[in-house]
């Protein structure tokens, strides 16, 4: 039945489309659904500007953005009440379904969003994890590198020939390298954290230097510290370096045993000193020879022209109104002849000294020959036994001679007379030492040893006499240095010997002696003089 008051029904449906991105699409779907359901009814979507007419379904676009209205207007009266009611319900249902669908979509959108978020977060976490893993790998690599570098540094420090000790601000050991272990006999782990002066007692006297270095941040250097190590005198070069990293954190003590270097330096100073003395002496000698000649030749002529054996002397004396005999008698009584002899002897002595001093410089010519040293030593012994001057003080034959000759000793290229002079000089020195100390407990003995070396021979002359103290030993080779009484010798013997061995023969001569322990001279002569620098 038609009901005319239902002619202008307008249905307003509100669908919440606020969350929906494209509400018009939803509306179109809705319209499609509606149009397909009722063929007799036309559902249209209108925008706000359109004029709504009765029966129009109005969806106000602008409002649909916020709310989404759909109005249904029945344009025909052909729908019965029951059909209207059905339509109303249907529309309501569709609207509900639509709303559900929208909600679902929103949810799924939300889910999507959530999923996206989760995916993103997961990706982030994965990335972070990967990053962390990379960092850990990097850290491990660095730790490995650090260990490697630590070991490398430790190797370097232990390879150093110097003693290296690290101490902290309180002077306790933090580092103790291999050389330190060797020098002290204390292991690194034992020394750790001990007071350094406790584990290295030789440093006790220098504790304040260590403190000073740490406090002032200044290097402390002690270039020549003498210590007793294994019952021997050693020289140490000690340096204390403050360790400054962040502020002063302690110090590093470096110690080097410079004993052999210092001995070498002393040896070089000695050589240099002798060389200067040698040059001085040689220069002087050159100048003195001329006046000496005039003295000696003057005396020789004077003695001659006073001699009775020259007829010419007698002649001229007579021509002067006197006679030679009277002159001679006068001169004799007035000791003139004695003066002349004195001058002559003095001149000869001076000349001998000058000749000795000349041997301090290079020899003018070589008289080198291949020499059997054992024969030479025996000859020198013979000379010593027969030496007149020596006999006056002490009979060389009282001395027990012990020979230790190397049977493989080859001949040596040398100036035989000069080497003999050196050996004889050493015998004389020993003899004179015995003479001055006759109260020695053991019978006097001289030990003669020869030894062959690859390129040289070594001759040792050792006595069990009184020996010398360090002071005398230091000066013993210097020209004119003598411990004998005035007039008992010029003190040139050992100086000449020194130059004969070192300058003429490019060899070595050294002395070892202690008071009460005798004296030992060691001579080293190269087998051959070929290849030395030309004079």
């Amino acid at each position: 039945m038609k009901n005319s008051h239902l002619e202008h029904d307008i249905f307003l449906l509100m669908v919440n489309l606020t969350q929906v991105k494209r509400p018009e699409r939803i509306l179109n779907i809705f319209l499609e659904a509606l149009n397909s359901l009722w063929e007799d009814v036309t559902f249209r979507l209108l925008s706000a500007d359109d004029q709504a007419e009765t029966g129009d379904i109005v969806a106000i676009e602008t409002m649909s953005k916020a709310f989404g209205y759909i109005s249904i207007e029945d344009t025909t009266s052909r729908l019965t009440i029951e059909e209207h009611a059905l339509l109303r319900n249907a529309i309501r249902m569709i609207a509900l379904i639509l709303e559900n669908r929208v909600q679902e979509k929103l949810l799924s959108d939300k889910n999507l969003q959530l999923e996206t978020l989760v995916r993103e977060r997961t990706a982030e976490l994965r990335q972070a994890n990967a990053g962390l893993k990379a960092e850990i790998a990097e850290r491990n690599k660095t730790a490995l590198e650090l260990r490697r570098i630590r070991n490398y540094l430790k190797e370097i420090i232990n390879a150093m020939p110097s003693v290296l000790i690290g101490v902290d601000r309180e002077g306790c050991v933090t580092q103790w390298n291999a050389q330190t272990e060797r020098m002290t006999g204390i292991r690194a782990d034992e020394a750790q954290e001990q007071k350094v002066v406790d584990v290295f007692p030789e440093l006790q006297g220098y504790r304040d230097k260590i403190v000073q270095s740490i406090q002032t941040g200044a290097l402390q250097h002690l270039p020549k510290v003498s210590v007793q190590l294994n019952n021997e005198l050693h020289y140490l070069d000690i340096a204390i370096y403050p360790l400054i990293i962040e502020g002063i954190e302690g110090a590093v003590i470096r110690i080097d045993d410079v004993t052999s270097r210092i001995r070498l330096e002393e040896r070089m100073i000695q050589t240099e000193k002798m060389r200067s003395l040698g040059e001085l002496a040689a220069g002087m000698a050159h100048e003195i020879n001329n006046p000496l000649g005039i003295i000696l030749q003057g005396i020789q002529n004077t003695q001659r022209r006073l001699s009775a054996s020259f007829p010419k002397n007698q002649e001229i004396a007579r021509a002067c109104g006197t006679n030679l005999q009277a002159i001679r008698t006068y001169l004799e009584q007035r000791h003139i002849f004695q003066y002349l002899t004195g001058i002559q002897n003095a001149g000869r002595r001076a000349s001998k000294i000058v000749t000795n001093m000349l041997s301090f410089s290079r020899p003018g010519e070589s008289g080198m020959s291949q020499t059997d040293l054992h024969a030479l030593l025996e000859e020198s012994l013979e000379l010593a036994a027969n030496d007149y001057d020596l006999k006056k003080q002490y009979d060389f034959r009282h001395i027990d001679i012990v020979r230790q000759y190397d049977p493989s000793l080859p001949p040596v290229q040398c100036i035989a007379t000069e080497i003999e002079q050196v050996i004889l000089n050493l015998f004389k020195n020993s003899t004179q030492a015995f003479a001055q100390n006759q109260s020695l407990s053991a019978p006097p003995q001289i030990r003669l040893q020869t030894k062959r070396e690859p390129q040289a021979v070594v001759i040792t002359v050792e006595d069990n006499g009184p020996g010398m103290d360090a002071d005398i030993r230091k000066h013993i080779f210097e020209p004119f240095y003598t411990t004998k009484a005035v007039g008992a010798g010029t003190g040139l013997g050992l100086a000449v010997s020194y130059f004969i061995i070192t300058t003429h023969h490019t060899g070595d001569i050294a002395v070892e002696s202690e008071v009460g322990r005798g004296t030992r001279f060691t001579i080293r002569l190269p087998l051959s003089q070929e290849g030395r620098y030309a004079a």
Partner: protein, 131 residues
Amino acid sequence: MPPDDPIHILIIDDEDMVRLNLVDYLEDEGYRVMAVCSGESALALLRTRPYDTAIVDMRLPGMDGNSFIGEAHRLQPHLRYLIHTGSTTYALPPELQSLGITKDHIFFKPIHDMDTLVEAIENLTKENQHV
């Protein structure tokens, strides 16, 4: 002992007393001796008469001993030489060695006994007689 024909000796040394001593000694030995103080004066003398032996100091004012000997040899090839030197490191240069001078003819100052000089002069004279 010098032969009947006296030996003429020429001494060259720049020190008066060295010359005086040598001259007196050698004259006492019977030689005829002239002494000059330089190589140039000696060459002048060599142009006047023959000499048998020259005793030469190496250190001279003007020309040195080596140069003198070289010049003197040109003037008198038969002249023999003894070297009397104060130099401690004197070594014979080859040009003097080629004149027949050896280390036996070198006397280093101071000469302790001038008789050794006389011996050397006698030896040189004997060698010359053999030539």
